[in-house]
Amino acid sequence: MDTTDAPQIIEHASKSLTFTPFDTKWIPCSARFILLGQSPKAQGVFQIYQLNQGKLEIVHDWEKTDGIKNATFKASPVSIRDVATVDYKGMLTIYDIEKGKPKFSVKAHASMANVIDGIGGKGAEYGAPELVTGGTDGCVRVWDPRQEAPVVSLEPAESELIKPDCWAVAFGNSYNQEERCIAAGYDNGDIKLFDLKTNCLRWDSNLQNGICGLEFDRQDINMNKLVVTTLESKFHVFDLKTYHPERGYTGLAELAHKSTIWGVRHLPQNRDLFGTLGGNGSLNIYKYHYPSSRALKDLDGIPYGVTGRLELLNEKTLAQQPIVGYDWNPDKLGLGCMCALDQQVKVIVCTKLNLY
């Protein structure tokens, strides 16, 4: 019984807040992270913390006009660490993290924007930098930060009486300059996989429960796996290697957290490990084991995907309220920062992940 090899989740530093945090992201190549949220006066909060000898030191604290919901560094190269954010008013804003000044701003959604993801900040061979945003208006829009108008806009049909609320978006399949996909999840359980190269919908499904978070295991490879978290304590892992014309992508479902699962974050250092963020304030670390054969053929000889199995490596309750923001440090394996609705920001360390 070697419990010693199991990864441990350790609280490294924490700090209480006077506002409601929504998202936290490490600044690439640093021990600093940004913390975004909304103050009781309904104003936006943009803070930068520095991790220093087990303590969190606040470096910058800027006030913005509207509560900030979500942010990403993924479209920025390491040398220019600009952060793209979305806020309560549906504005997409790109900030300079040294001065906190907006570099670019555009009205992305009619009402509140929920989520943003970025891609392309890693050099020419990975394609141009792009951002994707999802809003309560049900729209998913792709942005080139050099243009004021969206590159692509996926909008709910006019005929739909109740417009779905888009809660999750992610980029993936960007294994060369041209290929690129976006996945979007909605509050009605719809999930859509849209190919940006061919401008067509690749896959469309409904998972019954509203989708709170989704992420490709790796953005810049031929799409491999997609983890989707939903309401009602459920999350799914889809194998995106094999598409079957009738069955679509094969997925497995897992119960966890006994509450809404707010999101999923794959380790930047290992795509087969990921953490899920529980509405009960717990963080679960899973490892995905591939099956011995990832595709089988059906009776007509058409291959379909086969899912592997999940191993829960550890779980820990880190907050009393849902964990809404979490980010793995891209430079240090197992280092993460998180914020929860109980107005806490924490830095955690997950040990022994190198063994998996």
Partner: protein, 969 residues
């Protein structure tokens, strides 16, 4: 907030609350059901009241299934762990903060508003930032490569590592990793190349050394391989992997020395010879599938000759083992191997065009950078044998999974190698053989030598096919792999008859192939096929030198049996494995598992039986509905047979019991339908005796069967039981009435005599029954009767039975009377009551009550028959009576009755006894009170008795005095 995400549903409210009561330490110790334990664990965790129990459950779960560790493991973090983590983070912070500040400085200078892109300025900071970016990106690619390695996507991994190296060429780890990919892809020259680069950057980089060692060994540079492995062990003396490899390398080196010495000078000749040989052997046509390159002999004879000479000469040069030009040497190896492979494909006409390309390639290979990767890959792949697939490879680390061996030692003796111990044996043996045979220069030896050459060729051929199959296997195309393996097996089988001396080798090889096929089937979950092929291997046991093959076959078959739930067979196989390889861990684990399973075997078997039984039942029912009774009976009998194989165990399972019961009752009904009442009776009887005592269907069917045999009592009995269960069914009622009537008629004759004996009782009961008001009284008296009957069980069985039945009948009648009086035949009731009363009374006379209450109830039933009551009382010993009333009063009524019978019969029959009885009764508690409640008539009776006693001469004076003293009126 309206946001549904804030609803904190408790993970599906439908989940039933776990019953914590059943969890205790014993239960935890015994439980083997991980799922159940996990439920218990979660429940305990939620409850949080039993930390010790929770720990015990967690321990048990981890013991049973270590993979659940994450779920149940202790989430508390030790101080040491925390410190280590803190230190780790501190180190990281140190490095990263410097980097960060530099980057920040750069971007502050660079404040020109460009988004996500760089300005045109070229300053130092810019360059620095770009450098960092490149490094990060390279690392990212390397990590991606590692991920692809883990999921066995070697091609992608190779691309990623190459990209990483392009971006940042100074990382030893990336080179070492790429060497690993090459190793997996069997591109040994590239392995060596990359490993060398890694070692240049970081000397004594263990992984790189190790990989290079393996590659050296694979390309037959045993000396160099040994050197690398030794170096690893110098740095890390406990590196098991290296030790193992070193052992292997040494073994093959020893072998090489002993076998190559006499032949060394003729390397060139040997190759030529081989070429000739290979021309003679007809090649299967499929070869063009896996070797794209082919040489047309006529057109390019000269060139080929050239290449050959070149290669062979270099091989010779290699033999001198020049240390410095390792990478170059390996290229030469490639040339050489290509040569060998292409020779025997000359018949292939289609590929004429490729020849030129190929020759170009051959020349191109002199410049290592320009080697066209794919082709060499393929050619090389055919030279080096891939080890047969290991058991349980899903979880094995990639590095360990595929072990490479060189089947091609210089004398061309292939080595079948599965485990590390093995090559020694085989090699030594063959060497010995050779030595023995060598001196005899007779034709037999020659024939043998010839055959040996042919054998080598055949084996090579088989290996090629196997290689192809392995590739399929690796890709996960198990069906295709099986097909290819089967081809190899066919080939071996076909050629078997042509060999005289080396049959054994071929059979052994064949066995290996079968083993591999079994492995394929295992992956495809075709357990039966797996068993079949493993059995084939085992059949060949007498020919197999290498026990590991056998062990593997047994192990695999064991696993297959386990999957097929043939636990006993599986266990047998595992025991065999343990005999062959006492240290085989898989077998040990399997054995413990199997033993546990054997204990639970009942369950496993049962589910199987259950299914079968259910099937026969359904089939039978269907036939029954079609009124094919005979067929239905046959089907039901099948089910019964299944059940009867193991009735005791199966009976324990509720579901099966139910189903079997249904089968029996249904079969019984079928027999009834055919008029075969005897069989119907047997079936129903079996159910009632062995399966379900109160099964209504069985009862009903037995009753009908009994009716047909004119055994009305039994029939009535069953129907009554049935009626008790369900009073609403009309058919039961009518049947009961009918049977009852029949029974009564049948019994009339018998009864008549008895009736005469007790006419009074008959009348009284008749009265009471007809007099609806007294129904309650009857029922109570009947109840009493029942009790008494039980006491009188020793009595003649036949009588008792009748009595009991009747009594029951009456009882039911009386209880049902308020509603159903009309339905019941009055006459029957009367008669039944008569017989019952009379019969029980008879018995009662001889019975002795056990308690005062019993005495009183007996009195109640006998009070109408004073004489019988006297007899009854007389039978009771005085001490018993004394005991009865020691602690309770004797009722005035009872006492009076006793006095009355005494005065009536006692005084005349046995005055002494009467006196004694009177005295004993007087000892009852509160006897004074009893006396007070007596009326004058009774008192007179008593006085009479006392006087009689006084006057009697038979009684002792003391007793008289005592009585008089008590009954002092």
């Amino acid at each position: 907030m309206a946001d549904p995400r804030f609803k904190n549903e408790e993970g599906g409210n439908s989940r039933p609350k776990y019953n914590l009561d059943k969890i205790d330490f014993d239960w935890v110790e015994k439980s083997t059901d991980v799922k159940e334990l996990l439920k218990a664990h979660d429940a305990l965790k939620d409850d949080a009241g039993f930390p010790d129990l929770l720990r015990a459950v967690s321990k048990r779960i981890i013991l049973l299934d270590p993979k659940q560790r994450g779920r149940v493991g202790n989430s508390r973090v030790s101080v040491e762990d925390e410190q280590i983590a803190a230190k780790d983070i501190a180190d990281f912070l140190n490095d990263i903060q410097k980097l960060d500040s530099k980057l920040s400085a750069g971007s502050q200078q660079n404040d020109d508003g460009a988004i996500f892109s760089r300005s045109g300025q070229q300053d130092l900071n810019r360059k620095f930032a770009e450098e960092i970016e490149r490094k990060k990106q390279a690392e990212h690619e390397r990590l991606k490569g590692n991920e692809f390695m883990k999921s066995k996507e070697y091609k992608e991994a190779l691309d990623c590592y190459t990209k990483s190296i392009d971006m940042f060429p100074d990382d030893a780890a990336t080179y070492s990793n790429r060497a690993q990919v090459h190793l997996m892809l069997k591109e040994y020259s590239k392995v060596i190349e990359d490993a060398n680069k890694a070692l240049q950057i970081q000397p004594d980089y263990l992984k790189a050394l190790h990989r290079r060692g393996k590659a050296f060994q694979a390309v037959n540079k045993t000396e160099l391989a040994i050197k690398d492995f030794q170096r690893i062990l110098e740095i890390e003396p406990n590196n098991k992997e290296a030790m193992k490899n070193l052992k292997e390398a040494r073994a093959s080196k020893d072998h090489k020395k002993s076998s190559t010495a006499p032949k060394e000078k003729t390397v060139l000749e040997e190759i030529k010879e081989e070429v000739v040989e290979e021309k003679q052997v007809e090649q299967p046509k499929k070869e063009d599938k896996f070797v794209r390159v082919a040489i047309q002999e006529e057109s390019d004879d000269e060139e080929q000759e050239e290449v050959k000479v070149e290669s062979t000469s270099k091989v010779q040069a290699n033999a001198e083992s020049d240390k410095e030009n390792q990478s170059k040497k390996s290229n030469i190896e490639v040339v050489n191997s290509q040569e060998n492979d292409t020779w025997w494909k000359e018949n292939n006409q289609k590929q004429q065009e490729q020849i030129k390309e190929q020759t170009k390639e051959v020349s191109a290979q002199k410049q290592p950078e320009e080697i066209p990767q794919v082709k060499i890959e393929e050619v090389q792949a055919s030279q080096f044998k891939r080890i047969p697939i290991q058991e349980d490879d899903d979880d094995a680390d990639d590095e360990e999974e595929v072990r490479l061996v060189n089947p091609y030692v210089e004398q061309n003796k292939p080595i079948i190698e599965e485990k590390k111990e093995e090559p020694k044996k085989v090699e030594q043996k063959s060497v010995e053989e050779q030595k023995k045979e060598a001196p005899k220069e007779d034709p037999e030896v020659k024939a043998k030598a010839d055959e040996k050459i042919r054998l080598e060729k055949l084996i090579k051929e088989i290996d090629q096919i196997k290689e192809e199959a392995s590739a399929e296997y690796k890709r996960g195309m198990y069906d295709d792999a099986v097909k290819v393996f089967e081809k190899a097996a066919d080939l071996a089988e076909k050629n078997l008859s042509q060999y005289k001396y080396y049959k054994k080798d071929i059979i052994e090889r064949e066995a290996t192939i079968f083993n591999n096929i079994a492995a394929c089937y295992k992956q495809g979950q075709h357990n039966k096929k797996e068993v079949e092929y493993c059995s084939k291997v085992i059949e060949r046991a007498p020919y197999i030198n290498d026990i590991t093959i056998l062990a593997k076959a047994y192990l695999r078959r064991g696993f297959a049996y386990e999957h097929l739930e043939k636990i006993a067979d599986a266990k047998e196989d595992m025991i065999r494995v343990k005999e062959i390889q006492p240290n085989n861990q898989q077998a040990s684990q399997a054995l413990t598992r199997l033993n546990r399973a054997l204990q639970d075997a009942n369950k496993v078997d049962i589910s199987d039986y259950e299914l079968k039984i259910a099937k026969t039942k359904d089939a039978g029912n269907a036939l029954f509905q079609q009124k094919k009774f005979n067929e239905a009976i046959a089907k039901f009998s099948e089910g019964v047979d299944i059940f009867l194989k193991n009735p005791d165990q199966l009976k324990k399972d509720k579901d099966i019991k139910l189903k079997v019961t249904q089968i029996y009752t249904n079969r019984s009904l079928s027999h009834h339908q055919l008029g075969n009442h005897q069989k119907a009776f047997e079936d129903a009887d079996y159910v009632l005796k062995n399966l379900d005592q109160v099964n209504p269907k069985a009862l009903f069917r037995r009753a009908i069967a009994n009716k047909s045999f004119e055994k009305y009592e039994d029939s009535v009995k069953d129907l009554q039981n049935l009626f008790k269960q369900d009073q609403t069914k009309a058919d039961i009622k009518t049947e009961l009435d009918q049977c009852m009537r029949l029974l009564v008629e049948q019994n009339k004759a018998k009864k008549e005599q008895q009736q005469q004996q007790v006419p009074t009782i008959k009348e009284t009961i008749k009265e009471s029954v007809s007099n609806g008001q007294k129904i309650q009284e009857i029922s109570s008296s009947i109840n009493d009767l029942q009790e008494q009957i039980k006491k009188a069980e020793e009595e003649s069985k036949n009588q008792e039975k009748i009595a009991k039945q009747l009594e029951e009948e009456v009882k039911k009648t009386s209880s049902a009377l308020p509603k159903k009086t009309k339905n019941l035949n009055q006459e029957v009731i009367d008669k039944a009551a008569d017989i019952a009363t009379q019969q029980t009374n008879k018995n009662l006379i001889k019975a002795v009550p056990k308690t005062a209450a019993g005495f009183e109830t007996d009195y109640n039933s006998l009070k109408k028959e004073p004489q019988t009551f006297y007899q009854y009382v007389k039978n009771i010993p005085f001490t018993t009576i004394e005991n009865f009333f020691k602690n309770c009063e004797i009722s005035a009524e009872l006492f009076a009755a006793i006095v009355r019978v005494l005065s009536e019969y006692g005084l005349s029959e046995d005055i002494k006894h009467s006196a004694q009885l009177i005295k004993s009764l007087a000892k009852a508690s509160s006897f004074d009170m009893t006396l007070m409640f007596m009326d004058s008539k009774e008192k007179n009776d008593l006085k009479q008795i006392i006087n009689a006693i006084k006057n009697s001469s038979e009684i002792e004076n003391d007793l008289v005095k005592e009585i008089v003293k008590i009954y002092n009126f």
